[in-house]
């Protein structure tokens, strides 16, 4: 058999991601992998397994728990991490509220989205993490399109988009002072379609809410939000049952579902390839606050 020594596009981004995981594990003392139970963090977990196989992950996994999770996702998280043998750290937004570190928003549109930043930064300080792997992708959002693979955060966890470290070749600068940290984005160069194709190729299990299912939902701001204890309905809002699926996994109070009949990975990939809206535009109230909603939150230390 002759070989052309070529890697497919998916193999190339996979190799790049594995390289980044290993680089961080080699150069930092206390890295940690952020895990939401969403498709991107599930792919991240698989990449981390690949990077260190046959050894276990040389770092713990952290879930920032808003208390407003989809139960299906929590169940999935615990099962998957047990399979991998990874150590789980839970950073609880409820605890931040109970301890008076943050104040719960009120009103029907209250969300714990922004509160997570404090919980996250507190956990980083408490565990003295110096590198946090995140599953953000540059194709997701325009502020993220400008983000480095190694994204420096000062002692306040802030991102300064106008003063980022130049990042050349695959030579990453991980030098920091005590109290500072780096957010690392190994799947920066993956697209949403790459993620789905990889999940299919690798046969990776994902939470059931990604597939079309019947759900009690109500319409708000052009999205289908799930009816749950975590949201308060406005007078005009009416709960209906629809066949939907989720394109992203976030907080129940701000993650919208899309109408869908896609019950298999093949069907999801078909839908993603044909869709005309971005995943965050379609399903995330947190990004709709303003043109620069993501940039503003990221500067404060958000994911």
């Amino acid at each position: 058999m002759t070989t052309t020594y070529e890697l497919s596009d998916l193999d190339q981004v996979e190799a790049e991601s594995i390289h980044i995981f290993r680089e961080v594990a080699a150069e930092f003392e206390r890295p940690c992998l952020l895990f939401s139970g969403g498709k991107d963090s599930i792919v991240m977990l698989r990449l981390a397994e690949k990077a260190f196989s046959p050894a276990r992950l040389p770092f713990p996994v952290m879930h920032v728990d808003t208390g407003h999770n989809f139960p299906e996702v929590l169940e999935f998280r615990d099962r998957r991490l047990a399979e991998v043998g990874a150590r789980l750290v839970v950073a609880s937004v409820q605890r931040s509220i109970d301890e008076g570190r943050v104040t719960e928003e009120t009103g029907p549109r209250a969300s714990r989205n922004r509160l997570q930043t404090t919980t996250l930064l507190d956990a980083i300080g408490e565990h003295r993490f110096d590198a946090l792997f995140g599953g953000a992708r540059r194709d997701e959002e325009k502020a993220r399109a400008k983000e480095r693979v190694y994204s420096f955060r000062d002692e306040f966890g802030q991102w300064d988009p106008k003063n980022q470290r130049p990042e050349l070749w695959n030579l990453y600068n991980g030098r920091i002072l005590r109290g500072e940290h780096i957010r690392v984005f190994p799947i920066s160069n993956w697209t949403e379609l790459d993620i789905w194709e990889y999940i299919r190729r690798e046969g990776i299990e994902i939470p059931s809410i990604y597939f079309a299912h019947e759900r009690s939902v109500f319409e708000r701001d052009g999205m289908w939000l799930s009816d749950s204890d975590h949201v308060t309905l406005l007078d005009v809002e009416e709960v209906v049952t629809r066949r939907v699926r989720y394109r992203t996994v976030g907080d129940m109070s701000c993650t919208g579902a899309v109408d869908s009949t896609a019950a298999t990975l093949e069907e999801i990939i078909g839908e993603v390839a044909a869709t005309r809206t971005t995943e965050r535009g379609a399903t995330r109230a947190d990004d709709r606050v303003s043109e620069a909603a993501m940039e503003d939150r990221k500067k404060e230390g958000y994911f």
Binding site: I18, F52, S53, R138, A145, L171, N173
Partner: protein, 418 residues
């Protein structure tokens, strides 16, 4: 599917962001909600047309000032290839951003305004592309609509550019007449330029041959991480994880480990899926050797008959990336080269290069932000390197200020010795 990474350079007025917006728009990579957001913003800003540049200018400051400040990465795919665009600002004050975006590119796309011809900026972009050894350079002669799609105007720019490019080392140079605003020759060939017989930009991007750009001759494997599972099942496992940056490695190959110079054989090349028959760039693998020898991060695995240069003294071209300090002889810095970290001192600044005229100023005493020069470095430990022109991975390095931890320079190795 193949992956092509390309970098674009140009300034506000060249229509670079418009061209990228056009590529994304015409290949249907722009989503409804993104387009609506851009239309809304364009209207608010009082633009006459939907300003496609707003698609790529993602930061608040960029939208406010109408300029691209930082490298933005964009993704699109056609049935033939997947593309990653590093969209970089063109102005001289952002040379460092362009160097950043260009460092991993297979192809550089430079825009020239047909009415202005080859200006200082075009020359600088072409030079940087050649300095960073981007194998393919495409010159889009833009705003053809403003010269009535005249062939003569296009040929004039082409001749002028070629003349300058002769002084540079550019392997593959292509010219395409376009109008980013109207889409001529961007995705499809335009009826407005019947005299142009080449491919449209997109067609060229889909077809340009990149497979042979990698170095498959010099086997190079910088050890990144040692895998030693502390488990009963894999008690004796000791694997060297890393990314192949040159050549091909197969089980049974005789290899040498630097700096120790010990030789051994490849026992197996492992991945999560199991062992593979061979590994080549840019595969990330774990290599096991038949002998139990001391190997750690920063070591280099190569072939006994094909070794990189080994030494503490380097000759290199560097681009200075910070305004906070200058590079002068005796400057001490941290150096990161492959997976190896050391300290280094600038022992000599041989000349500063004028990136517009290529004039070498041998009387220069320092390099400031965005300046490029040739230096001699002395490192605290030996590095294992190749000329940058031979291998981008083993020929490149970054310099880091040990006080501020800022990345202050990008370096391309020219050779060994003081």
């Amino acid at each position: 599917m193949e992956l092509l990474r390309f970098a674009t350079a140009g300034s506000v007025d060249d229509g670079k962001s418009t061209l990228i917006g056009r590529l994304l728009y015409d290949t249907k990579q722009i989503f409804q909600d993104q387009l609506e957001a851009v239309e809304r913003t364009s209207m608010q800003m009082g633009n006459e047309h939907t300003n496609l540049a707003l698609l790529t200018d993602g930061l608040r400051a960029e939208r406010e000032q109408g300029i691209t400040i930082d490298v933005a990465y964009r993704y699109f795919a056609t049935p033939k290839r997947k593309f990653i665009i590093a969209d970089t600002p063109g102005h001289i004050q952002y040379t460092r951003n362009m160097v950043t975006g260009a460092s991993t590119a297979d192809l550089a796309l430079v825009l020239v305004d047909v009415r202005n011809g080859v200006i200082e900026q075009s020359r600088r972009h072409a030079f940087l592309a050649s300095l960073l050894r981007i194998p393919h350079l495409v010159v889009c002669v833009n705003k053809m609509d403003l010269v009535d799609y005249g062939q003569e105007a296009f040929e004039e720019v082409k001749a002028e550019f070629r003349e300058f490019a002769m002084k540079l080392d550019i392997a593959d140079l292509t010219f395409i007449p376009v109008s980013a605003l109207h889409g001529d020759n961007v995705v499809d060939r335009s009826p407005n330029t019947p005299w142009y017989e080449g491919a449209s930009l997109l067609h060229h991007l889909e077809e340009v041959h990149i497979a042979s750009d990698r170095n498959l001759i010099d086997a190079r494997f910088p050890v990144q991480y040692v895998i030693r599972p502390q488990s009963d099942e894999h008690h004796d496992y000791r694997g060297y994880a890393g990314t192949i940056v040159g050549g091909v490695f197969k089980p049974g190959d005789e290899v040498m480990v630097l700096p120790s110079g010990f030789t051994s054989k490849v026992a197996s090349v492992d991945t999560y899926e199991g062992s593979v028959d061979e590994a080549f760039p840019p595969m990330a693998v774990t290599m096991r050797l038949t002998d139990d020898i001391d190997v750690s991060r920063g070591d280099m695995i190569c072939r006994p008959g094909n070794q990189p240069m080994v030494g503490q003294d380097l000759q290199a071209m560097v681009c200075w990336l910070t305004e906070a300090s200058k590079l002068t002889p005796r400057t001490k810095l941290a150096i990161k080269h492959t997976t190896r970290a050391a300290r280094t001192m600038v022992t000599d600044l041989q000349y500063r290069l004028d990136v517009n005229t290529l004039h070498r100023d041998e009387s220069a005493e320092a390099l400031s932000l965005n300046e490029i020069g040739r230096v001699t470095l002395r490192c605290t430990q030996p590095l294992f390197f190749d000329e940058y022109r031979r291998n981008r991975a083993t020929g490149s390095f970054v310099l880091v200020d040990e006080t501020t931890n800022a990345t202050v320079a990008a370096g391309m190795i020219v050779g060994a010795g003081a």
